[in-house]
Symmetry: C2
Subunit: 88 residues, 2 copies
DNA sequence: TTTTTTTACGACACACGTAACAATG
DNA sequence: CATTGTTACGTGTGTCGTAAAAAAA
């Protein structure tokens, strides 16, 4: 499981749509669609229900979101801590 | 920062060598070398001192190890939790 | 028809293994 | 010389954006 895919996933979750997510991710819809589909295949479960004008997380989607959000935050924090050692 | 690179890093740290790490990572030395070098460039600091027959982590290397280890564990755990939902 | 997601595809970049080189003792 | 890390390089794989199709109301 790739962290980049988790970033895609989180963006879709938070913006409630593939189209919206693609903007914040600075890529195009089609790539978001492809990666989310890949992630769903990999995890063996759907993560979102595609409805008209809105995307709704499944149970597994909700579960993944909590972990993904935390994981990304930790990764980014670690990265910054090493790259920009502030203070002692 | 890519998680795969962190896995490479952890393997080098734990096996105390690029050659040893490459075996457990099922790849070749050269790739480990390249990725660690990339990681060092990206983070803007050396992570290991290359000595004869052994590799020693720098201060930053030690710091990164703690976080990397934790992060990988969390990622793997999350992945398993979604893929193989055991019990209720 | 409008809005959104999916599929197909071509071009470019990256990852991997092979092989040759460098360095250390 | 033996061992370990580095650099160079070709091939395959993946990623990205474009474009066309499908679905939903």
């Amino acid at each position: 499981m790739d962290v980049k895919d988790l970033r895609y996933f989180v963006a879709v979750y938070e913006t409630k749509g593939f189209s919206n997510a693609s903007k914040s991710l600075r890529t195009v819809q089609s790539n978001v669609s492809t990666r989310i589909r890949y992630l769903e295949d990999f995890l063996g479960t759907p993560l979102f229900e595609r409805r008209y004008r809105v995307v709704v997380p499944t149970q597994k989607g909700e579960e993944l979101y909590v972990h993904a959000k935390q994981l990304i935050a930790t990764l980014d924090h670690t990265e910054r801590a090493i790259r920009f050692p502030q203070a002692a």
